[in-house]
């Protein structure tokens, strides 16, 4: 099997209250996941503007994952419901544009689910690595 030398680049948006704390818990428990995952903290998953995700793909990200509180547990009552609907729409549009559905994901990770965070990131990184480089939306002018 051919081993891809290039490391995938994954941007993870984590909400401050659940998923970022979940990622911290994964760290506390020393549950490893690939270093390809880079986390950006947002107050709520609903803060993630589709623009940020498009920007990440434009700049050469190979996968983008959004993590928020479980439905019903949003710190801001209803933010993650907006995320769920918005991202369903955005991801299907991205799929149409050639960014495979596997490269984008929304996952609910609570502050108590360090193990789930690590497992999710392992699985997502593996999936994205298997798909190879995102060439479809990458803007080569940004690579100067």
């Amino acid at each position: 099997m051919q081993v891809n030398e290039r490391k995938p680049l994954i941007v993870a948006f984590c909400c401050n209250w659940c998923s970022y704390a979940g990622a911290d818990l994964a760290g506390n428990n020393r549950l490893s996941y690939p270093a390809d995952v880079k986390i950006i903290k947002v107050p709520c998953s609903c803060r993630v503007n589709p623009m940020f995700i498009l920007r990440a793909f434009q700049r050469g990200a190979d996968g983008v994952i959004l993590c928020g509180c479980h439905p019903g547990d949003c710190h801001y009552t209803s933010g993650n419901y907006y995320t769920r609907r918005r991202m369903a729409l955005l991801f299907s549009m991205l799929d149409y544009l050639g960014i495979e559905k596997e490269r984008t994901r929304v996952e609910w990770v609570s502050a108590a689910e360090g193990a789930k965070f690590a497992a999710t990131m392992n699985d997502f990184a593996q999936t994205v690595a298997a798909l190879g480089e995102n060439k479809r939306l990458e803007d080569l002018r940004c690579k100067k």
Binding site: R30, A35, Y76
Partner: protein, 664 residues
């Protein structure tokens, strides 16, 4: 252009073990805006903080990046350091290179690479940071306690003791709650009324406490420090201020066949009633569902006998509006319904009762004046079977019971068994249990006394079926330790019903925007470190609304909640969160998309005059965010079609800069 200082923490070997901190601080030196970069063993230590303060002064820094542990750990620390150095605290960003880097990656090379990228993202963000000032809001120095059981009573007394006015809202005509119904309390066996009723009197006499009995909260608006609450005072058809509680009306009321809920419907009361002799406030209440005068206008006896003239058949529900700085939820619990537990024949036989009913049967003020008589024929029971965990720890039967342990049943059952054997030594007492759980001060000793001194038969096993036959109750059970089937002819069966949060809790949680778990218990802000605060600022939890508790635990949690309320109310002003949304009124087109998604109602609209390029003045409708109400989720920023709405501290430009830095 910012002048940024980067400080890389070793965290002993926690970070330095898998991240080359020297390489990180070298690499970040060349980032745009960075004028100073250093690393140190413990950045959060006094020496580390001093290093930051000195660097700020020496290099005229305008922004700080600390590459260290999670911001959840030390963001507040470094913000204070920045403030001490004369910087705006919000000019600090943390790159989390411990929890999200050194602790999860084993390899030095990948760890260092990732740490550099995370540092670059933080630098890119700080470059776009702006100084933020938290708004201040005044604090209304008054607390609301919802629920007047022992939890609410203790919380209210403690807050009042500190000098702040407190209102208690209680749905029943009297405060006292479940504890008022109990006979004796484990493990010391003091009588519940003897320790509770003096506290109830204290509440009534405390000039800082107002009691809204027979009332409920119908609307909550506002936020920490400034809640606007509407309380509905239900019509009790008796003027509370005039009624002396003499009881003449109760005695003369011809309608005497109303089930008495205070005695769990085991006897009757009149249509006008005072729940029990020590009720606070000691005021009569007319039950409109049973009063002949209110139903068809034929009676009026109570108004004739009332010397004070307190009866008012035309009384209406009254709505009271009040402002509060803090709200304490103390809505308590109820035993679950036994309707679904057919196997115990609760609905077939009057002699199958719940433990709370047993409590009333043995209470001197109860329906049998404290004599243990079985409800069906008022004869003394000679064989009593107690069944524990009825509906508790019932993962397999989640549709009728609860998965959790109700915590108090083991102890009160031991108490019931012991008291029965003590008063009536001729009675055989059997207790069927799954496990006996006695964690608590003097609890296990108490249970052992029941077994060893009082000879209660504790049998490990479940009761499979109870059915009435003649005047006996046939109990079929298994004895797991002896591997035997047992058949007991019992006179009385007592079910230790699981407890569940009061039904009023869920609608209340919605009003308060406080969160609940799947069992409708209120969730705490942190299960270990903030156990009496709800995640919603200004809302505190007291007693069993948060989880099953016995009386000592409830009281200690109630006092803890009071302490939290007091430390909130002593503040004259509250600092808000400055990371709130703000709308650029030049770009806003007043479409109200943002208003629709805001969960807090923080966005309003106002008409604003704009000078147009042709020197005319136009009036446009623009969005306006109330920074005291906005919690900073940022939902509005995404729906804004014109891009006018942005979130301070997490601005579009800042997040995009982070994305760019990571994807470089």
């Amino acid at each position: 252009m910012q002048r940024i200082g980067v400080f890389v923490c070793w965290c002993g070997s926690n970070i330095a073990g898998t991240v080359d901190v020297q390489a990180v601080s070298e690499a970040l030196k060349n980032e745009p805006g960075v004028v100073f970069s250093a690393n140190y063993q413990y950045m959060c230590s006094q020496a580390g903080q001093n290093m930051i303060i000195e660097a700020v002064k020496e290099h005229n820094l305008t922004g700080i990046v600390v590459c260290s542990c999670s911001p959840r750990m030390h963001e507040a620390t470094f913000r204070k350091t920045a403030a001490a150095a004369g910087l705006n605290p919000y000019m600090v960003e943390i790159a989390n290179i411990r929890e999200q880097c050194s602790w999860v990656h084993k390899d030095m090379l990948t760890g260092t690479e990732k740490a550099i990228i995370l540092g670059k993202a933080a630098v890119a963000k700080v470059n776009l940071n702006t100084p933020l000032v938290a708004g201040e809001t005044p604090v209304t120095k008054r607390a609301l306690v919802i629920g007047g059981g022992i939890a609410g009573i203790q919380t209210a007394l403690d807050i009042a003791e500190a000098g702040f006015p407190v209102d208690i809202v209680e749905t029943k005509p009297t405060i006292g709650g479940k504890m008022a119904q109990l006979d004796k309390t484990f493990p010391t066996l003091d009588c519940a009324a003897c320790i509770l009723t003096p506290k109830m009197v204290d509440v009534a006499q405390n000039e800082n406490i107002r009691i809204f009995s027979y009332s409920e909260v119908t609307e909550v608006k506002g936020f920490v420090g400034n809640f606007d609450v509407t309380v509905k005072k239900k019509a009790r058809y008796v003027n509370e201020d005039i009624c002396t509680g003499c009881g003449a009306c109760v005695e003369k009321c011809p309608m005497k066949k109303v089930p008495n809920e205070f005695n769990l419907n085991m006897d009757n009361r009149s249509a006008i009633y005072i729940p029990f002799a020590q009720a606070v406030p000691k005021v009569a209440t007319i039950d409109p569902n049973h009063c002949n005068m209110l139903k068809n206008g034929r009676c009026g006896v109570c108004s004739k006998v009332c010397a004070a003239g307190a009866i008012d058949y035309k009384q209406k529900d009254e709505y009271i509006q009040e402002k509060y700085g803090a709200i304490v939820v103390a809505t308590g619990f109820n035993p679950i319904s036994m309707d679904k537990f057919d196997e115990y024949a609760y609905n077939q036989s009057k002699d199958v009762i719940t433990s709370l009913e047993f409590e009333r049967l043995t209470n001197a003020a109860g329906p049998t004046a404290g004599k243990l008589l079985r409800p069906s024929d008022l004869k003394h029971p000679h064989t009593i079977v107690f069944v524990q965990c009825v509906g508790s720890r019932c993962a397999a039967c989640a549709e009728k019971g609860k998965e959790y342990c109700s915590k108090i049943c083991c102890m009160y059952t031991a108490k019931h068994a012991m008291l029965t054997r003590d008063k009536y030594p001729d009675t055989e007492v059997y207790v069927f249990y799954i496990d006996v759980r006695t964690p608590g001060k003097s609890f296990d000793e108490f249970y052992r006394r029941a077994v060893e001194e009082y000879g209660v038969h504790y049998i490990k096993g479940m009761v499979g079926k109870v059915f009435p036959e003649g005047d006996k109750l046939k109990v079929q059970a298994s004895d797991l330790l002896n591997n035997k089937q047992l058949h007991i002819d019992a006179d009385l069966v007592v079910l230790a019903a699981a407890i569940e949060p009061d039904k009023s809790a869920r609608p209340l949680a919605t009003m308060l925007t406080a969160s609940m778990d799947t069992n409708d218990f209120f969730t705490e802000a942190h299960p270990k470190l903030r156990p009496v605060e709800s995640p919603t600022a200004g809302v505190f939890l007291s007693g069993t609304c948060q989880g099953p508790k016995d009386i000592p635990e409830t009281v200690s949690q109630a006092s803890a909640a009071a302490a939290k309320v007091i430390s909130l109310l002593v503040k004259d002003k509250l600092k808000g969160n400055p990371c709130v949304a703000s709308s650029d009124e030049l770009m806003c087109n007043g479409c109200s998309s943002c208003e629709r998604v805001c969960p807090y109602g923080a966005i309003t609209y106002e008409d604003k005059e704009f000078r147009m390029p042709d020197r005319t003045v136009a009036i446009r409708r623009v969005a306006k965010v109330n920074p005291a109400v906005c919690q900073g989720c940022g939902c509005c920023t995404v729906v804004c079609p014109s891009g006018a709405m942005d979130l301070r501290g997490f601005a579009n430009r800042q997040i995009i800069a982070e994305v760019d830095a990571i994807c470089k």
